[in-house]
Point group: D2
Chain length 394, copies 4
């Protein structure tokens, strides 16, 4: 059955800081839980909000030393770099447009970065960031958190092992319904920045959730996209960014195979869906289906045989999922555990990067290159849609 992994290490937690994530924010709290879950990280510093007062209040909520509650990320990077007990890593959980300047400041201060997705608000920033990461030699982890789910890891392992044969089709979707009405006009802070091009970039649903679906499709299938044809809409009147995304996908051929095809659907106006992320992969030998809302299940059909339900930690699941599994099968793990798995992998990478650290060859996390790919996907969607769905290379 499950091989309980060791989630706690004796060598003390990694000191980290946070940019964004103050009072009223959503994803910052998620990052903090994820960081805490395995005891691998300790939050010691923050530039938690865009105003010093709110930053301080947020820091007090979290029990931070007031001296390490900074008024800006720039100040924080500078000050922490100088401290003997300064942070080893920073988590950047601001709106998209701040990712690049914040990441730059910390990388240049020699601090590892864990950054929320999408990577940046535009492709230019994304490429600059990728170059800087490479130059810096620092660990850079992008929290495409769904890749942390054990059964997603297992699906990827099955595809990589050839259990599905040659891949022909990849279907990904991420419907939500929370922007069906004009929530940004009703005081929702979460809605407001997501539909604001200045903070989000050129993509709305395409950037916020389309990138997740696209990343998952690539992660599981192991395929690279050749081109796409997109039809984007803003159904809610006056909304500037897309709230619905239809895309047809053409993947690059692998070896002698014909390239796979796919479809991607992302929406924030699809009533009945909370976070309906789903991925399906069909090959010459079998098919897979995984649904984020029920993440401990992986449906696998070897062609010509009965459909199987593979469960996290259960019979049929292998080492790739066991690596990121905490409890035995039948006791569900969820979103926070998946997110924490990204942090656990980040911790391994950060410890390996210490002097004398040994690299763990099995570490898997979304990289800055995955982030560049995601931003390129958003820009290609927007471009294709403006050209009436013309097939567009990334």
């Amino acid at each position: 059955m499950v091989s309980g992994r060791q989630v706690e290490s004796g060598s003390g937690p990694i000191r980290y800081g946070m940019v964004g994530g103050g009072q009223g924010a959503f994803i910052g709290a998620v990052h903090r839980i994820a960081a805490r879950m395995d005891g691998e990280f300790e939050l010691v510093a923050g530039a938690l909000s865009s105003t010093p007062e709110k930053s301080l209040a947020s820091a007090a909520d979290l029990g931070l030393d007031p001296k390490r509650s900074y008024g800006s990320f720039a100040e924080m990077a500078k000050a922490e770099k100088r401290r003997k007990d300064g942070i080893e890593a920073v988590a950047i959980v601001t709106p998209n447009h701040m990712h690049w300047p914040a990441a730059k400041a910390f990388l240049e201060a020699g601090i590892h970065v864990i950054c929320d997705k999408p990577l940046t608000s535009n492709l230019g920033d994304a490429k600059k960031l990728a170059a800087l990461v490479e130059k810096s030699g620092k660990v850079f982890v992008l929290t495409h958190n769904y890749t942390g789910y054990p059964m997603v890891r297992h699906a990827r392992e099955m595809v990589a092992n050839g259990e599905l044969g040659d891949i022909r089709l990849v279907h990904a979707e991420y419907p939500q319904d929370w922007l069906t009405e004009k929530a940004e006009a009703s005081g929702s802070k979460q809605a407001a920045w997501r539909v604001d091009p200045k903070q989000s970039g050129v993509g709305g649903a395409s950037g916020d959730i389309g990138t997740h679906a696209y990343n998952l499709a690539r992660f599981v299938s192991g395929l690279e996209l050749d081109s796409l044809s997109a039809d984007l809409d803003s159904f809610v009147e006056g909304r500037q960014l897309d709230d619905n995304v239809h895309v047809m996908l053409r993947f690059k051929p692998k070896g002698e195979e014909k390239g796979a095809k796919g479809m991607l659907f992302a929406s924030q106006v699809a009533p009945g869906h909370e976070n309906g992320l789903k991925v399906r992969v069909y090959g010459t030998k079998g098919g897979l289906e995984w649904v984020q809302a029920d993440p401990n299940y992986l449906w696998y059909t070897p062609f010509g045989k009965p459909k199987q339900l593979i469960t996290r930690g259960g019979a049929g699941s292998g080492p790739a999922s066991a690596r990121v599994t905490r409890v035995p099968p039948g006791h569900p793990e969820g979103y926070l555990e998946g997110f924490a798995n990204i942090y656990a992998e980040a911790a391994r990478a950060i410890r390996a990067a210490r002097p004398g650290g040994k690299p763990d060859k099995d570490v898997v996390f979304p990289t800055v290159q995955d982030g560049v790919e995601g931003v390129a996907f958003v820009e290609a969607c927007v471009k294709s849609s403006k050209k009436n769905g013309a097939w567009t290379k990334l």
Copy 2:
């Protein structure tokens, strides 16, 4: 709860004949069960196969009078027209390319026609057939059988009643896996004709199942298509017709609304799917989901409220579904009942067409115009795909 409908009428069954459906066929037997289920039809004649010997043997299996087992549909139409007790209706269940000539013969003989889908193997035939139906004044029923499912009827009624608000999105899919490998090379008669352009027309999966998905999308949403962008593939080597279909849809606006958008996926190479027909409709006020394999359930989410499970005959289902419901909720009805509902509607229309017959204004069945629309869909898919996904009007 359910209002048990009266499925049997005292005035005696409608005499009908069948073209196709002899030994080794699949859909003919389905039509016969559907015709029998409510006692509304009696099979009395047939041109069941393309060879007289096989026709006779098939007729004997079915207990037909050997004199009314004909060597060809032409002979049958002629002979039955002359009989005082000749057939009132014919069921045409041949491969697609025979639909038009057979239908022509019977319509010209003054005999009502129940015809399998798609309507014809090409749009030219389809239009000629539509013109002839109009001219003839005869009943013509196309067996897009999925429109006979009670919960599909209920979904359509909800949309028509405005319970979903303005429709923004329509997603339909029909994945199968039975042609994942080259079944047409292994002696499958069902596979062989479906992948043969001479018998099927220009569409493979697009014609065989794509038309079902498209018809269902139109039926439930009440929308008409403006244009589509398609990407078709034949994944199995040497297969001449498409076995996988990706389409983006743009519907015509209704009133002052912006036109709805959609996606359609049909595949015969998606392992894990038997007959995975599914339709989803999202509007400004709510969303619906219906899955053919579990047809007694309709998932309905009024925006901002909990998802509801509406069941056939159960609380929340209305007159449109009660009309085509035989047994109380919790005792599932299936594919054959849905198919039989098309026959039941056909019977009502045929009885109404008799001298002195009274029309039933609630009769609903797929018409020859729906069939023209379906063939136009297939041709538009093929055309768009050849033009690299150019948006194509029907």
Copy 3:
């Protein structure tokens, strides 16, 4: 995949009559659809109601010859026996207390009997009926219709083949909610007779649905009951018969095995359940689960391996289910098909009973002995419950 069975035979339908099932009845219409579905039966006579006028009106609805609409079953048995074209079989679909006298009349007239469940309203009648059936040599089929579902047949075959190892546990349940309130006081004819001891016998839910659950448990497991401990309730005030049934079961040992144990739950006051019949069997090598509302699925877990979804007609299903399957996998069959399978088996048995008829050794249907067992179950439940749950032999 599926081996389409031949559901139509060329030798002409079996003439049958019906007792009960007139206007306003429920189960009679179900029997008639089931009888019609495969073209094996033709309804030619009836004593459809307890009053001659209503009988005649009902007969007219069904297109029966008015001369063969009888005022009583006794008259019908007598008259049909004398006719050269008299009925070969009768379907008895009255309330329970009429089963025995009606069956007696027809068996003594040399007419085969298809009888609704439970067999009789008391064990004395049941035993007399069993003796008479044996003496008569006639076919007697009890419509425990759920045994007609293909996946139930497959489950039984798996257990019989030893695929589950030694059986340890059998859990059956049949919750409904339609009698949560006092429907019998609100004009529901279906409710009224079911809660009336004169028409139903000593059991309420125990007789009406408990017998189905019990029969299914026996059918699938192949086990015989040793004893039971029951706790019955009538939750609705003033209701004379039980509307909720809790039972613990002890089965007789098979060979050297320890006897299996079980639980049975039947209820008419469980809101949320329409016809929630479910059976689960657990053995030393694996487990099975089948749910009536989703009858095309059988969940099978070989111990230590992933759970499998076996589908009707799909990979993994075998000859026992193929025998009673009409359409390929993915196109669901339902309650009426399952019911029709009982009629199809009855047709085979009746044809085999004709002079020169050849018995079909694979015919499977619920017998009069199964009926005796069911009535004994009800009486044992009532007896045990009155004795505060004392373990009671059947």
Copy 4:
């Protein structure tokens, strides 16, 4: 939608120690993750194993100060009591028979106790412990963790609010399959102590998982048991404790209502079930169903209306669940979050118990009295089963 609760408090974590939970243990690691998740607890001491060497090694794994790794719980209670920075609370995660002596030592040292279930290995110890808790005035939390799931809280709130009307039926089950074969003979430490009467007490499955099911039934329904009738088995040869539990339940009447009835099924030999805990409650106005493996869903049927799917944090869920919810709907929370909710409630109670602390009237956690009730349930099951299912008071 969801009101994100504040899961982090600024006043610094609660120092706690652990008894048991060393290398090779299972539930200890779960407690530690649960304690860490919200940042409310800090592990600073331990008597992690029964041998000093293993304790030290385990402590090193966890980064504990070696001086606070104790050779026994007695030593730890004594030493920590004396420290100025001693632990405020202890988590006891040993086999059952150690709960009472360990809890006694810490309560007498003035240290709050969080204790795994079942409370003790026998009713005598349980009652002594309850008396001591009362006398000590310390916080005592029993980790019946399933009561921490948000949708369980919501179900309880609905029942308490009368949304189901008078409760008639409560059905609970907890099937597992991991002891289908003789795992205790194959080196499974988890299996070995659970089937050993010296460590577990008189109950096997009844104590290990039956108590969970029973506790959940009580928690959700708000009812108290009057008596039970049980049939216990040890199916695996040579196993001393029960591995399968069948129980019929009679609850005490509330007000003028008739007492509710119920069934409880717990098994460790039911192939196909990982942790199949499920609870169903049926009342005069509606029914509820909750399944542990899919914990973010609560199925609710108001009688006569469509079934509803209430989701954690989604429309229809209320304050009782929002209190223990971390992330918005559609991002599943799981077993560890549910467990952490017990720790979060414990933290609130412990902070409230500090000098000047303010009690939080909404704190809900399983108490020592719930534990006494659970052990009484096990002993009553064993007693009833020995007396052939005689109805037995707790």
